[in-house]
Amino acid sequence: MYPANFDYHRAGSVAEALDLLGQNEDAKLIAGGHSLLPMMKLRLAQPSQLIDIGGLSDLKGISAGEGSIRIGALTTHAEIAASAELAEGCAIVAEAAAEIGDPQVRNRGTIGGNLSHADPASDLPGVVLALGGTIEIVGKGGGRSVAAADFFVDLLTTALGEDEILAAVTVPTLGAGTGSAYLKFEHPASGYAVVGAAAIVTMSGGSCESASLCFNGVTATPLSADAVGGALAGGSADDAAIDAAVDSNLSVDDPLSDVFASGDYRAHIAGVYAKRALREARGRARS
């Protein structure tokens, strides 16, 4: 409940934040603080310095571009859940953000903090992965983009360098033929995802053009079930096809396990929720 001591700097610009970050390898960025402060209160994290980037307006906001939507790192989950741009162009991000924690957490937690913390049971990583999103990163030497598939490296570990800042996430605009759904099996205590199934299905003339399926909560990093999507493509994606695609192609290696849900059970739920999410997504696709 009582964090250890640290120095505090409020960054006035991204450049200043990068400077500060470069000067102290033990420093941590803080924005909403909803990933970091809980760890610090339990003294599981004891950074010597916090760099508060919460005031950097460059990193805020949602903007729709040509074929994609850019979400600034400091955009809160509540803002994402309520975003008209996302509701229109990429609803699954808003749907997943609305599942995070509770209203108070969503009012403060940010997408940048969420993704860079890379908690496997969080709701956004698997969604960004299913969408084939891109993570924009800035460092002293300039910016770089990392595909979501390359961003999540391991449990609580990402491709973000210690001296870099996650600046934004870009997700594709989904057309009318594409339906998406995020279905969450919530941990009854923490509210985190035991299983979060993110499904995106593109239909055309009654047949499935493409499908993608990813999970939060099931494995140490968001799990992409490419084979399931592949099996659905070119078919009808009706209930029977979805069942068959999941039953034959979903494999879960090294599932997470805790007191509430064993690895076997998580893998089972992943299958059930995959089918339900894919059906829902297909139903939302206007082909």
Binding site: M1, Y2, A4, N5, L42, R43, F185, H187, P188, A189, S190, D258, V259, F260, A261, S262, Y265, H268, I269, V272, Y273
Partner: protein, 787 residues
């Protein structure tokens, strides 16, 4: 102007809804210090050297203490047990561990600093040597040969071996039976989780030798007494215990914990007020837990489906030490309830209490009665199924009938009153039982999510009494309650009650009692509680006792006030005492309607004593120590409807209907509120909650990240009604309602889930009914792997 029985708004609320209510942590002073307790990370270890030098040198630190300092200070330094069973193995429980730690969270040192952040910083610098040993955590496994011993002087980890009932007649009943239904049950360990963590501020004044302790307590006088006798050894009149606003207790704030004694010692050593506020993690490791039983039980029926015998064998763990009232919970508050609402001619209950390397277990909402009700009501459901009877039918066939009261059970209790069928009838009517069964059939035919219905026709025993009986059963305290009613000179009233509310609304309900009887406005009554320097001795609030015992004490004190008032009024009105009647706040004279005096007129004269009866003392104050003749016996019928997703095992509570009989009701709104809260806790036990230890004794559910509490979005609106069978032996006719919901609901919910899954032949799933357990039960029934 009847006020008794009406839903007036609570008088305690204006402070609480504006942030002005003052809980322990809300008190501070410029000289206050802050304590952090260093706790064992091991469940079982030999305690080696404790190096406090780095902590002592840390910024802001003014003191670091260990068990050696407790000894040096000359304090008795023990946490006592207040209920002694015959042959109970009483083990030592030092306030700071000496030589050995016995559960994760056992205190080994305390650091006191200028602020709470500094105290926590320095606590991390206390260097403690531990030599860890194997631990035992299972209530039954503790007695296995070779299990690690929790206390060297408690062989086989047995704390007690308890029996109630008659094994011979029970075996005869079983021998004569045409059906015997057996069940194995686990009543899992729970963590109380009052939202306000436990807290203590101790302030020792060396100039007067007086210690003032403001703390989270349900029974300040009991806390004071236990500090005097076991932990601190100060004279009783030199300790003042104050319960400010207390943010929920549910049993967990009854007990005397090491922590308050440690904090008091710090204040005595340092001469400054010391505050200790538990973190949630600390409360989860140190608040006495509840339940944790492993049980085998069986019920025997004859050819007419009448119960001819009930047999129960339970292992109940005490945890690492004997908490304040722990030995009473799985014995006299458990075995005594095994007759339920049923006329059972032969019962035998055997309980082995064990020590384990876990947090001590003690009373938690319901305390023994939920565990008993779970056994009885699960057995009834399974026996009905086996007999091919509707579960309500088997219950009806065996209810104690109205003409059987008072009904002597085979497990010590004598039920004073009851009428069980009307409550069941009403609950069935509310739920629409016939319609439900047809919906259920349709679902079964259609597959997918399955519906289930579960029943619990429970009885409980509140207001443990009388004191002499409690004493004969091992209580080291009386179980009466006190009330002093003072009519002030101007006719307003101040009540001093030994009950100690922490959310129950006594300020309101006790005022209603006084206002009704004295014919005054509720706002003319003040209720004082929770301060040992203000209130005559009191036993506190727990066990659903405060209305029945504490309220009755107030009632009887008001009777004494009225009696004295009649004598004063008779003198003033120049009438015979027997001609003076009191009604609607007026002392009048029979047959002389123009002659009357108000309460304020009489009270003023009582304090002036100018024109006053020669044989009366001045003043208008009455005190009662009310010792009830018997327990009270609330009962009711609860029905849960659930939906089970058979693909995932997820259970959703769909409806919850209950018809309770808690006797007369003082404030229906408050009574319903008590039921709501109890139901949430009982449903929480059935579906979500559970403390889990690993084999090394680590608590895997030590934070709210893992311990699943009932939340708003997972519960439904409870549909409640009442029947009213007044308690015949207390003046209010009330029975108590604080625990009913937590007692009745776990079997109702579990029965509903098992009912939903009956096509699979599933007979039992242990609580909490997590999706994985339900799914595994279904998979096992389908022959897909083992459960």
């Amino acid at each position: 102007m009847a006020v008794l029985g009406t839903s007036i708004r609570r008088r305690e609320d204006p402070a609480l809804i504006t942030g002005k209510g003052r809980y322990t942590d809300d008190f501070s002073s410029p000289t206050m210090l802050h304590a952090a307790i260093v706790r064992s990370p091991y469940a079982h270890a030999r305690l080696g050297a404790i190096d406090t030098s780095a902590a002592a040198a840390a910024p802001g630190v003014v003191g670091v203490f260990t068990a050696k300092d407790v000894e040096a200070a000359g304090l008795p330094g023990m946490v006592p047990v207040g209920w002694l069973l015959p042959d109970l193995k009483v083990v030592a429980h030092p306030i700071l561990a000496i030589d050995t730690v016995r559960h994760v969270g056992d205190g080994v040192a305390v650091v006191v600093a200028e602020d709470r952040y500094q105290a926590r910083d320095a606590a991390e610098l206390v260097d403690v040597e531990y030599e860890p040993f194997d631990a035992v955590t299972d209530p039954a496994g503790a007695t296995a040969e070779g299990a690690p011993l929790v206390h060297a002087d408690a062989p086989s980890n047995v704390a007690f071996d308890f029996e109630l009932g008659d094994s011979e007649s029970t075996e005869a009943g079983f021998a004569s039976a045409t059906q015997v239904t057996e069940i194995e049950l686990r009543n899992q360990r729970l963590i109380p989780h009052a939202i306000e963590p436990r807290a203590t501020i101790a302030d020792y004044d060396s100039s007067t030798g007086k210690l003032t302790v403001r703390m989270t307590t349900q029974n300040p006088h009991v806390h004071r007494l236990l500090m005097v006798l076991a932990s601190l050894g100060l004279p009783e009149h030199k300790i003042r215990v104050i319960a400010p606003e207390v943010g929920g207790g549910f049993g967990s704030k009854i007990h005397h914990y090491a922590d308050e004694a440690i904090v008091a010692m710090c204040s005595m050593q340092l001469g400054r007020p010391v505050k200790w506020i538990a973190t949630r993690g600390e409360t989860n490791l140190t608040d006495a837990h509840g339940r944790d039983h492993v049980t085998k039980a069986a019920i025997a029926l004859d050819a007419d489906h009448k119960i001819v015998g009930l047999r129960v064998d339970t292992y109940a763990t005490m945890g690492a030490y004997l908490s304040t009232f722990a030995p009473s919970v799985p014995t006299f508050l458990y075995a005594t309830l095994m007759s339920g609402q049923y006329d059972i001619p032969a019962i035998h209950c055997h309980v082995v209490g064990t020590f384990t390397h876990t947090t001590p277990v003690d009373a938690y909402r319901g305390a023994g009665r939920p565990e008993a009700t779970f056994v009885v009501e699960r057995l009834m459901e399974e026996a009905a199924k086996e007999a091919g009877l509707d579960p309500t039918e088997l219950r009806r066939k065996n209810f104690v009938q109205p003409d059987q009261f008072p009904y002597q059970t085979q497990v010590a209790l004598e039920y004073d009153s009851g009428n069980y069928e009307p409550a069941l009838d009403r609950a069935l009517e509310m739920v629409g039982y016939d319609d439900f069964r047809s919906q259920q059939s349709a679902r079964r035919a259609g597959g997918g999510k399955q519906l289930g219905i579960g029943f619990s026709t429970y009885i409980e025993a509140c207001g443990l009494a009388p004191s002499a009986v409690a004493g004969s059963l091992g209580a080291q305290a009386g179980l009466w309650e006190s009330a002093e009613v003072r009519v002030n000179p101007t006719g307003t009233v101040t009540v001093y009650t030994g009950s100690s509310a922490h959310g129950q609304g006594h300020h309101t309900t006790f005022s209603q009692i006084v206002a009704e009887k004295l014919g005054i406005d509720v706002d003319a009554v003040e209720v004082i509680h929770g301060d040992t320097d203000a209130v005559q001795f009191g036993m506190g609030t727990y066990g659903s006792r405060s209305a029945a015992v504490g309220g009755s004490a107030i009632w009887l004190s008001v009777d004494k006030i009225i009696e004295k008032g009649r004598r004063i009024a008779a003198h003033l009105l120049e009438a015979a005492v027997e001609d003076v009647e009191f009604a609607d706040g007026q002392f009048g004279v029979k047959g002389a309607p123009d002659k009357s005096l108000g309460l304020a007129d009489v009270s003023l004269q009582a304090y002036l004593a100018h024109n006053y009866p020669a044989d009366l003392e001045p003043g208008l104050v009455a005190t009662t120590f009310y010792d009830p003749a018997n327990f009270t016996y609330p009962f009711g019928a609860h029905i849960a409807i659930v939906e089970v997703d058979t693909e995932t095992g997820e259970v959703e509570l769909v409806r919850y209907v209950a018809c309770d009989d808690v006797g007369n009701v003082i404030n229906p709104m408050i009574v319903d509120g008590q039921l709501h809260g109890g139901l949430a806790q009982g449903i929480g036990q059935a579906l979500w909650e559970g403390a889990v230890y690993d084999d090394s004794g680590q608590l895997l559910t030590g934070s709210l990240m893992d311990y699943a509490m009932p939340r708003a979005h997972r519960l439904v609106n409870f549909e409640l009604d009442r029947t009213t069978t007044p308690c015949p032996h207390n003046p209010l006719g009330v029975k108590g309602v604080g625990e009913a919901g937590a007692i009745a609901s776990p079997p109702a919910v579990v029965n509903a889930v098992v009912d939903a899954l009956s096509p699979y032949g599933i007979r039992n799933i242990d609580m909490p009914l997590t999706p994985e357990k339900v799914w595994r039960a279904i998979a096992a029934a389908n022959g897909e792997g083992s459960e």
